[in-house]
């Protein structure tokens, strides 16, 4: 069987744009000058960052925002998170034009439903990124769609002007001015065959999901970008049952990252608790689940965990690895 430690694509940073004071856009080209694979709107790549000694220090997933059928370059947007685990700071402060990076092949965990007759896209802040590529695709296919974009102030609204110039269906909501999108109003009169997609803060996802449920939308027509950045927490110890190894997980690293740091290669793909690839059996210990993959029953039973985002509540967990 295969592990998903797939060979990566070497890329060169061809351009860096400061889009807002806290958001930078990176243009990536294939390091060997060849074309990159086309992708579908909503896809992300996992960016591998290495420190001065060449050691992997961060691996973060970012949505691709460039036109999906253009293999000349990829673009990703990164919001600086000073309280985060350091990946976004690395991208903002350490990376310069001409630097080399490794990325995974594009993976889509937030695809458009091709049978939909109408698409409603709802973005909060940096959550606009997957929709940038999807709107390219929808324009090309000629399928009706509308975009609703909620943000706090200009700093929280990357691409606002570009979108306003290109997307006649876009509506903007600036919370600093007291403008809030109303999911009930947006979803109330949508015709049969409509799908709604939401990407942004957990609160926005919840409000949209609640409104759709209240209006009787079938759950299959409601899609949320399920990525979770691995949270920062308390350190703990992982015991690998099969390889009989004990590995310390620091507060700022995930179990997956700690295992990789120790030279193990557990299967994984999205690194955001969404794809299910790194599901691991738990033999002992209490788990704080952060993923969107396991069912509530399985989570409550403490029998399995997604090691890319979830952490231990106990000081020690034993995993079937």
């Amino acid at each position: 069987m295969i592990t998903s430690q797939q060979p990566s694509i070497p890329v060169r940073v061809a351009g860096i744009d400061q889009v807002t004071p806290s958001v930078k856009t990176f243009t990536l080209e294939h390091a060997e000058g060849i074309t990159l694979p086309c992708f579908s709107g909503g896809s992300h790549v996992v960016v591998t960052m290495k420190d001065a000694q060449g050691q992997v220090c961060h691996r973060n997933p970012y949505s691709l925002t460039s036109p999906p059928d253009d293999g000349r370059c990829y673009r990703i947007s990164v919001r600086r998170d000073d309280a985060g685990r350091g990946g976004s700071l690395f991208m903002h402060e350490r990376l310069g034009e001409g630097d080399l990076l490794e990325i995974s092949a594009p993976v889509n965990l937030f695809p458009l439903n091709v049978l939909a007759r109408r698409h409603v896209l709802i973005a909060g802040g940096i959550g606009i990124t997957p929709f940038l590529a999807q709107m390219h695709e929808l324009r090309q296919r000629g399928v009706p769609y509308e975009l609703h974009y909620q943000f706090r102030d200009d700093d929280g609204a990357p691409y606002r002007d570009a979108i306003a110039a290109r997307e006649p269906t876009a509506t903007f909501y600036e919370s600093d001015r007291g403008e809030y999108l109303d999911p009930l109003a947006i979803l109330r009169d949508q015709p049969l065959g409509t799908h709604v997609y939401v990407c942004g803060p957990a609160g926005l996802i919840e409000r949209v999901s609640d409104a759709a449920a209240q209006l009787g939308w079938p759950a299959r027509h409601v899609h949320a970008e399920a990525f979770t950045a691995p949270p920062v927490g308390e350190p703990f110890t992982v015991v690998c049952n099969r390889s009989e190894r004990e590995i310390e997980v620091p507060g700022t690293a995930s179990v997956l990252e700690a295992l990789e740091g120790a030279g193990l290669e557990p299967p994984c793909s999205c690194r955001g608790g969404a794809c299910g690839e790194c599901e691991t059996r738990v033999l002992e210990g209490d788990i704080e689940h952060y993923d969107h993959f396991l069912s509530d029953d399985v989570k409550a039973a403490n029998s399995r965990m997604m090691i890319c985002v979830s952490r231990a509540r106990s000081q020690r967990v034993v995993l079937d690895l």
Binding site: M1, Q6, F39, P68, V107, P111, C275, G276
Partner: protein, 354 residues
């Protein structure tokens, strides 16, 4: 594709037939490169998926899509089947992006693996495709179906050996929303079109209960662009008949009753499918290629290890699997016939001929 992999130069035979007079046969070289599916003396249904990233030089696993000595024969058989029943190639309208993805993947792979036969020249969206085996040279605009003589999926799969199905991914499920099926092992594209992964797999004995399809599905949902996977499947067919479709079952079903101890070595064929799965980039769909290989029991018996191994596999195969695969009635004839080749010696592990 691994760098050390080299692809065989296929010595393409003139057209042979897969019906009526059945002139199809395998050369000694084709026999030696047959993808024999049994690494052990017994068989049980399993997921058995591995990366499709090349294989031993010259083997069926080396190229992305294998072109062999039967190329012209299989292309002609496909043309005849489609002439009688055009619905054997059907793609639902929402799969147009996946059609172009398929065309690109097949043209890129074939022109890379077999530059002596196929050439793809790309000038922006202006593409020129040359297939020297069939004498085809077409220039078209990628993305514009009007510039090709047929829809892109049918255009290219009429030029490649093996069946193909297209699967859309939505709601964490794969739906079979298109295909080209002219050499299928007894299932109907027209009927199964639009089915989800579980509906389509139907009654494989024990497989649902063993959780095999749940695991395979979860695996395939995470399939990545550029990292195809493959597995082997097998059954038996009477006569070298490619089109064992349910649509024509009333015509070929009787063959199963016509196997005798005298003709079993020539009539009974091991049918192996080399199945490969590709994530398609623009559509996020999955392309499933099902490449069918046929070998008569007599041809197989020219490799002593395979005759012994196949004898043991058939003898110990559970009845429900033999029934599902459709050869339970003539299995005893094949087992008896093969017993003459099996002295009971311990065989080396693995499926290699020697």
């Amino acid at each position: 594709m691994q760098a050390e992999t080299t692809v065989a130069e296929p010595n393409v035979k003139p057209v042979e037939t897969f019906r009526d007079d059945f002139t199809y046969s395998n050369s000694p070289e084709a026999i030696r490169r047959f993808p024999f599916p049994f690494p052990e003396d017994s068989y049980m249904y399993s997921v058995n998926i591995e990366p499709h990233n090349g294989g031993p030089p010259g083997s069926a696993y080396a190229p992305a899509f294998d072109i062999d000595e039967h190329y012209l024969s299989e292309i002609e058989e496909r043309r005849r089947v489609l002439e009688e029943d055009p619905s054997r190639c059907t793609v639902l309208p929402h799969m147009m992006t996946a059609q172009w993805d398929t065309l690109e993947l097949l043209m890129e792979s074939l022109s890379t693996d077999y530059p002596q036969h196929f050439t793809l020249t790309r000038d922006g969206d202006r593409w020129t495709w040359e297939n020297r085996l069939l004498g085809i040279r077409d220039t078209f605009t990628f993305g514009d179906p009007e510039t090709l003589p047929r829809e892109p999926f049918e255009y290219i799969t009429r030029q490649v050996q093996g069946d193909f199905t297209l699967h859309d991914q939505r709601d964490d499920m794969l739906y079979m929303d298109g295909g080209m099926l002219t050499c299928q092992a007894d299932w109907s594209l027209q009927f199964d079109l639009g089915m989800n992964f579980h509906e389509w797999h139907g009654p494989v004995p024990r497989a649902h209960e063993m959780g095999i399809f749940d695991r395979a599905l979860k695996y395939l949902l995470n399939l990545q662009v550029g990292h195809p996977v493959r597995r082997l499947n097998w059954t038996m067919t009477v006569n070298p008949r490619m089109d064992t479709s349910p649509e024509n079952y009333h015509k070929w079903g009787i063959d199963r009753a016509r196997v005798t101890p005298e003709n079993v070595g020539d009539k009974a064929h091991l049918r192996v499918e080399l199945q490969a799965l590709y994530r398609l980039p623009r559509s996020n769909a999955v392309l499933f290629s099902i490449r069918c290989y046929l070998i008569s029991v007599n041809e197989l018996a020219t490799i002593p290890k395979w005759a012994k191994r196949f004898h043991r596999v058939l003898k110990t195969l559970p009845d429900d699997l033999a029934d599902y695969k459709g050869f339970i009635d003539y299995r005893p004839l094949v087992v008896d016939y093969l017993s003459q080749f099996d002295d009971g010696e311990e065989l080396t592990p693995g499926a290699a001929p020697g």
